[in-house]
């Protein structure tokens, strides 16, 4: 038996069985049963040193790789069903490494009803994880297109915290490299803030429940998941809808945690909020008449949502700050123009 075959056997022990997965990992393809209807499908590739820090814990990586894909389905208002998992890694790490990635991926998928159907392993000079995920839209799929002038702009959660967490994670990595991890890690930052920021970066919470609520009752006119930065992703929604997205400075949910970090690091919390990226929150637009119902559903789901602005005629994404208007359309990570970070 090749070591790849032994991996598949070990993987089998992690899986739960039952329909509609007719045939899981271990053959040339997985076989699933599906009812008729729409299917929402997405894929995301995470590369070591680009999309995550070198030496990241493999189980956490598996969780995160599934979570960023789940966030794409959340933005379409879809219920996750199945995913495929391809792992490239240095073979000298041994089979426990991809097994830990798979364990994390399976657990995070299970949190949202998504099952591992199959996958692939390849040797690679650094870790690369690609997830392909699909599911069923809970209603008319949410799109980036559809926002109309007069709609209200909402965001879930607290953008910017993940970017703060990345800063801390990088620092921890540098400490670890020099063998000198201080205790507490960041003496000037409350321990609770450190924990919360690191979790926002390392283990994002995809907004599946919120996305389903938005689609089920058609509460949102348009939606996007915020992965590259609030400015850039708002501009994408604006372009797809043929409108302008206006953020109002005084409405932005700059969390206490983000402000605490910004204070200790001499950073601008607004910059982290607008351009940080890795948030995996939903940015969406709501017709005013649907706003009370939206806030009620979000509150029942225990998902924080904040009205942060409005949709106008025009183009791009701007920040209204008192009388000033600042173009924020390019704030975020352009994967292409440069190495991501």
């Amino acid at each position: 038996m090749s070591s790849e075959d032994r991996f598949v056997e070990a993987l089998g022990a992690l899986l739960s069985d039952g329909p509609p997965l007719v045939l899981g990992p271990g053959d040339d393809a997985a076989i699933l049963a599906r009812e008729a209807g729409l299917l929402a499908a997405t894929t995301d590739m995470l590369v070591e040193g680009v999309d995550f820090l070198p030496g990241e814990d493999p189980e956490r990586l598996g969780r995160r790789a599934v979570a960023v894909n789940l966030s794409d389905l959340a933005a379409m208002g879809a219920r996750p069903e199945f995913f495929l998992l391809a792992i490239g890694f240095e073979s000298r790490r041994g089979p426990d490494y991809p097994l830990a990635v798979a364990r994390g991926a399976i657990a995070r998928g299970a949190d949202f009803g998504a099952r591992l159907a199959g996958g692939d392993l390849s040797d690679a000079p650094q870790t690369v994880i690609t997830v392909a995920l699909w599911g069923r839209p809970a209603g008319e799929p949410l799109r980036r297109k559809g926002a109309a002038p007069g709609d209200l702009v909402y965001v879930s959660g607290h953008p910017g915290e993940a970017a703060g967490g990345l800063r801390l994670a990088r620092r921890l990595e540098a400490f670890a490299e020099h063998g000198s991890l201080p205790t507490p890690h960041f003496p000037e930052l409350p321990l609770e803030a450190e924990r919360r920021l690191l979790a926002a970066y390392r283990d994002p919470a995809p907004r599946i429940g919120l996305g389903i609520a938005l689609a089920e009752e058609r509460l949102a006119s348009a939606a996007i998941d915020v992965s590259d930065g609030m400015g850039l992703d708002a501009a994408r929604l604006a372009r797809a809808s043929g409108v302008r997205v206006v953020f109002e400075r005084e409405l932005l949910p700059l969390s206490t945690t983000l402000r605490e970090l910004a204070a200790t690091e001499d950073l601008d919390p607004l910059a982290l909020f607008l351009s940080g990226g890795d948030d995996y929150e939903l940015l969406f637009t709501v017709p005013p008449a649907a706003a009370p119902r939206l806030e009620e559903r979000a509150s029942r789901l225990d998902v924080p949502v904040t009205r942060i602005g409005r949709v106008e005629e025009g183009s791009g994404a701007v920040l209204a700050d008192g009388g000033a208007r600042i173009d924020v359309s390019t704030l975020g990570h352009d994967h292409f123009a440069e190495a991501r970070r």
Copy 2:
């Protein structure tokens, strides 16, 4: 507009629109319409320097990435429908590079009815391409499990030629590095053999039509696609079925081309055949009563198939050569135990 968004626009020009693809690349997920029924899904990751040679032409890479996934569906007897394409690449190569990968992938998918539904781009230190592909089984899905003692063993095409092509491609790469590409490239090898071997490696022909024929009429009792080597993959089928696969030395289709290469390179054509890998041929077992019908259908599809042995009680894959029996169960690439090549 970010350069990733410009990429999506350029990609749009390559795509044809229409049902059942409700929403293609450019939103957070693709939306497709599906009838009820089984779905066969697979994924494969190709890594530069591991699964393909550095500096490979990007359009050819896109074709190959889709083809190796198509081969997995062929082994299940499924009709391809849609695929997702994730590309990691050095951003300094610019957007034409992933666009060329996508062009090749879209063209090769179209050859077999598979449409690009969506994808992802990431910066990466070397090129990594992951395809996730799904489709609809044409009948009861073919599996690795199901071969019974007394069944005949068949293989499509000419295993070993792709491994020969890889040797030539490596040589060409070394020539190119030293700026000294000779003409003709391999003076001792007929030009037609060079062309055929390189094509077998670079642009494999997935056996979709054959797989569908096998599943539609239940002509095969078990099937696997040969990607890692005839020995290793035969042993996988044998283990899944709880039987022994016996190759008969005198039946193996060692092609004239393979023999020509072996003669000029002082290689054993049998070793290339049994352990070469990258063949993307179908290895399958056929109850004797179904053999005439199988050969008729394959002939009508113009796909060469050869009976190469039989299924016995026992385990593993062996080569019967005169009176001798040689275990070939481990002949091929174990991705895990070492860098692939």
